[in-house]
Structure formats: structure tokens, C-alpha cells
């Protein structure tokens, strides 16, 4: 799917009483392709500067592009994140046509075919439960409040394939801190949109709907965890969990819940969808662990999309240095 197609897909809106309203601010959010090119140039210029050889002309040009763009879509902080993997990103084409998003069907081609009907504006996020300041936030306000940054992360699916995705988002910790968790808060529960009209597979019993996920509060506060609103320098395509999705790079992909509408802080471990569906196959923690196998997939190896053969899977998906301390003293074979 080309970038232009992606934009057109978002432009396809239902006609109806509020169709006119919907085409207003929502369409303004879409980054026109020429501005995306601007950002690419900016990225290239930033890289050039880092190497001490940036041609001054292109930096000037890029700066002007970024100011125009700020209105359309939050410009990611261009500093490379210390968490970035140096590995080359998966092609955008593959990352947008090979997705597990069961709300649109179980086949990995289903989301790219069907998710364009998802209306991502207006969109509100509710944060409540064990917080001193529960709130309902409009997504556009959220985007303005938390400056987006780029994070290039590995993504490892429990089905033994992986990708490298340049996400755009902001740390979940920033949002949670502002809502001021109470002293009872120990877990964070996430919920996807429930709307069978937009998510056709919710008419079936494929999974218990809505999709739910959860993290321990200390996991959720880890600086690696982001709420993503874009990828590849553009707004998040619907098949990748638009308009707002969780990204927890050291856990299997199913933990990184898509199209989030609610975040609830809880005292007890919240029920999570795949764990409910098959508790012996999918644990609550679901940390990437080559030593704990799934009955259908060996977790020792993975196929990086774009590669022919498999490569060894790294503990915590290569983020052990950053996150292993969260699980000190835990038997990870039991808490898989």
C-alpha cells in the first residue's frame, strides 16, 4: 500500500448526519505526502549534522518544512533515542500488510484489507481507576500535550516472526504520572475500541471482546513503553492500531494493544484477552523468552520479515539490559 493509498484510505468516510463534521479537523491531521518528504529530508539533514557534514542548504529547507508540518502532525523529536536499535527498519509495505489485528479478522492480510473503515477521529481516551485525577482526553489534545518522539524498536510476535518499526509516540509514563496513580495502584489495564460496526470480527466469537491487555505498574512506567500515534514518520495506519496503540518492545506483540480507548489503573492483575482465551499458551507477562516455548511455535528462533532464514531470539527481545531488573527473583518459566 503506497503512502498515497494510506491517505486515501483515511479519507474514505461514511456519509451520514455527522459526515461533514468528521471531515473537518480529522483530515487536517493527515500529513500530506510532500510534508512527509520534508521530514525525511530533515532526518537526513540531522544525520548529516551528527556526522559533522550537513549541507547548510538542506537544513534550512528542512526547518521550514517542519514548521509547516507541526500544524498537521506533531514532529517527532529528531534526536535519536538511546533506546533505538541500529537494525534496519522493516519495509513500510510489509509492516502495513502483515498484521495481527483480530478485530478485522484472523488472517494477517485482513487488517490491511478491512481496517480502512475505522474512524479515528473524534477519538477519546479515558484514564481512570486508581488515580487521583481521572480524565477523558480528546486525542488531538493528547497529541499536543505530549510531544512525539521517534523510537526504532524491534517487534517480536509470539508467532515467531519479527520486524523493526520506527514508531512515533510518547512515553506512557508521562500520561500516567499526570493522572497521579493512588498508592493502591499496582496494575494498568488497557482496552481497545468495542464497535462491531467498525470492527467486523467483533460480530464473531473469535476472541472475547473488547480486546484487553495489562501491565504491572512498574512495567507500564518503564521509559521504553510508549503510546504510539505514528510510524515511519507518518500517522499510524489503521491496520497498525490507529489512532493510539501501546508499544512494549520486550513483550510479545499481542501485549501491544491497538486502538486504545481506555486505561484503568487497578489494585489487582486485570484479565487479558489471550490469557483468558488460552491461559496455558499465553501468560500475563508474555516477555519474549527463547527458553519458554509455545505449543505451536518454538520461541528460540524467529523470522525477521524480509529475511529468508530464521535468527535466534534474544531474551526480552534484546532489551534485557533495560528491563531484566523488573523481574529479578521471579521464575520466568512460571510467570511466562
Amino acid at each position: 500500500m503506497s503512502r498515497a493509498d494510506a491517505l486515501r484510505g483515511r479519507a474514505r468516510r461514511p456519509t451520514g448526519p455527522d459526515a461533514g463534521k468528521a471531515t473537518g479537523p480529522a483530515e487536517d491531521r493527515v500529513t500530506p505526502p510532500e510534508l512527509v518528504l520534508g521530514r525525511r529530508r530533515l532526518l537526513a539533514a540531522a544525520a548529516g549534522l551528527a556526522l559533522g557534514c550537513g549541507p547548510s542548504g538542506s537544513v534550512e529547507e528542512a526547518r521550514s518544512a517542519s514548521t509547516t508540518e507541526a500544524k498537521a502532525f506533531p514532529v517527532p523529536v529528531l534526536r535519536p533515542s538511546p533506546f533505538d536499535t541500529g537494525e534496519p527498519p522493516t519495509s513500510r509495505r510489509d509492516a502495513t500488510r502483515y498484521n495481527n489485528f483480530y478485530e478485522f479478522g484472523p488472517d494477517k492480510r485482513d487488517p490491511a484489507r478491512r481496517a480502512h473503515i475505522l474512524r479515528t477521529r473524534p477519538w477519546t481516551l479515558r484514564v481512570d481507576g486508581e488515580v487521583h485525577r481521572p480524565r477523558t482526553i480528546d486525542l488531538d489534545l493528547l497529541l499536543r500535550r505530549y510531544p512525539a518522539e521517534e523510537r526504532i524498536y524491534r517487534l517480536r510476535c509470539v508467532e515467531a516472526w519479527s520486524m523493526v518499526i520506527p514508531w512515533i509516540g510518547f512515553p506512557l509514563a508521562r500520561l500516567l504520572e499526570e493522572c497521579r496513580p493512588t498508592s493502591h495502584a499496582r496494575y494498568v489495564a488497557f482496552e481497545s475500541l468495542l464497535d462491531p460496526e467498525q470492527m467486523p470480527a467483533q460480530h464473531t466469537d473469535l476472541l472475547p471482546w473488547p480486546y484487553r491487555e495489562g501491565l504491572r505498574l512498574d512495567e507500564a512506567m518503564h521509559p521504553l513503553v510508549i503510546l504510539a500515534t505514528g510510524m515511519y514518520g507518518e500517522v499510524l495506519p489503521p491496520q497498525n492500531g490507529a489512532p493510539l496503540r501501546l508499544v512494549v518492545p520486550w513483550k510479545y506483540g499481542f501485549k501491544s494493544i491497538k486502538s486504545v480507548v481506555r486505561i484503568r489503573l487497578t489494585r489487582r492483575q486485570p484479565p487479558t484477552t489471550w490469557n483468558q482465551r488460552a491461559p496455558r499458551e499465553y501468560g500475563f507477562f508474555a516477555n519474549v523468552n527463547p527458553e519458554v516455548d509455545h505449543p505451536r511455535w518454538s520461541q528460540r528462533r524467529e523470522r525477521r520479515i524480509g529475511e529468508l532464514r530464521r535468527r535466534p531470539t534474544l531474551p526480552f527481545n534484546g532489551y534485557a539490559e533495560q528491563v531484566a531488573h523488573l523481574y529479578r527473583g521471579m521464575d520466568l518459566r512460571r510467570f511466562f
Binding site: R97, P106, L207, R277, P295, S298, L308, R310
Partner: protein, 196 residues
């Protein structure tokens, strides 16, 4: 004889059809984002469909009163074996990196791998004894040996059922087809279906 020739040609066409299916997929989008996985799925589906097609030759022949369909049965069975071997070969090479340790681990720990490997292992002696000389040499035992095809087909359907995503029931149509093909072999059903 002309009828036997039609059956043979049809069988050859069916045996080669998966190559066309894979070729179209390659031409259209390079078999998608995970071409190895797609190739494994398509070769596997080809093998199972051809095995079921082979099992449907005898009942059709009986129902139509045309025993000369026999050569098609053998051809389709051999084609199933060929696609199954390719399916397993791609898995061994690209998923397991020809690592015997990894292969053993898969067979031990992944029930669907064990079922699939057992199905293929059963088909190999059947393919090897599918020609006329082996039939004559084995005599009565040939028929007993080739009844193993029902076990192989059941294992292949089990293989599909065990590997599929939860809740998707991918194996259901194959299981239904196999159940039907076994049912028409029950003596009372068979007698009723036979055209004399």
C-alpha cells in the same frame, strides 16, 4: 481407453495446479510479507488437497461405473507425496536451517510437527510401492499396506488442526472431506453407491 486418458490428463492438471497457484502469488505480490510462510502453507495445502483427491478417485469410479479411473488415483497420490516432500523440505531448510537438533526439538515439542512428519513418513513407502511391479510382488499385502493412506490423511488433517490459529477452524473443511471419503467406504454405503 479414451476415458482413462481423460482421467490421467485431469490428474496431471490437478497435480500441477499448485505450481500455477504459487506462481500467481509470486507474480502478484511476491507471496506477501512472509513468502516462506506462504510457500509452506501453499505447498502443504496442495499436498493435502491432492491426497484427498486421490482418495476420491475410487468412490467416483464406483459411482460412475468406471474402474479405469485407477491410474489417476496413483498419479494424484504421487503428486501429494511430492508436494508434501517439498513442504517438509522448505520447512527443514528455511525454518529449521537444516539443524538436526532443532528438527528433533520441533518433533518432540510441537504436536503439529510430529503429526505432519508422521503423515509424510507413511506416504513414502506408499509412493515407493505404487508401481505395477510392486503391486505384483506384494500381492495381497499391497492392499493392506496401502490402507495406511487413511492413517496418513488423518494425520495430515490433524497436522492442519494443531498448527492453526485458535478459533479459526482451518482444518474443518479438510476434516469434513476426509470424513465423507471414509464414510463412502463403509460397506453398506459402498454397496448402495456402486453402479453395476
Amino acid at each position: 481407453m479414451a476415458r482413462g486418458e481423460t482421467a490421467r490428463r485431469t490428474a496431471v492438471g490437478l497435480a500441477m495446479a499448485p505450481a500455477l497457484w504459487i506462481g500467481i502469488g509470486l507474480a502478484r505480490d511476491g507471496l506477501g510479507a512472509n513468502p516462506v510462510e506462504e510457500l509452506v502453507h501453499r505447498t502443504g495445502r496442495a499436498a493435502l488437497l491432492l491426497l484427498l483427491a486421490s482418495l476420491s478417485v475410487s468412490p467416483l469410479g464406483r459411482a460412475w461405473g468406471r474402474p479405469q479411473l485407477r491410474p489417476a488415483r496413483r498419479l494424484l497420490g504421487l503428486a501429494a507425496l511430492g508436494w508434501a516432500a517439498l513442504h517438509a523440505g522448505i520447512t527443514a531448510l528455511l525454518d529449521l536451517g537444516l539443524d538436526p537438533g532443532a528438527a528433533l526439538e520441533e518433533l518432540r515439542e510441537r504436536p503439529h510437527m510430529a503429526a505432519g512428519a508422521a503423515a509424510l513418513a507413511l506416504l513414502i513407502p506408499l509412493g515407493a510401492t505404487s508401481h505395477g511391479a510392486a503391486m505384483r510382488w506384494l500381492g495381497r499385502r499391497w492392499k493392506a499396506l496401502h490402507r495406511m493412506v487413511y492413517v496418513a490423511a488423518s494425520l495430515a488433517v490433524l497436522h492442519v488442526g494443531l498448527q492453526g490459529k485458535l478459533g479459526t477452524r482451518q482444518a474443518a473443511p479438510f476434516a469434513a472431506a476426509l470424513a465423507l471419503l471414509l464414510a463412502v467406504r463403509l460397506p453398506p454405503v459402498r454397496r448402495r453407491l456402486t453402479r453395476r
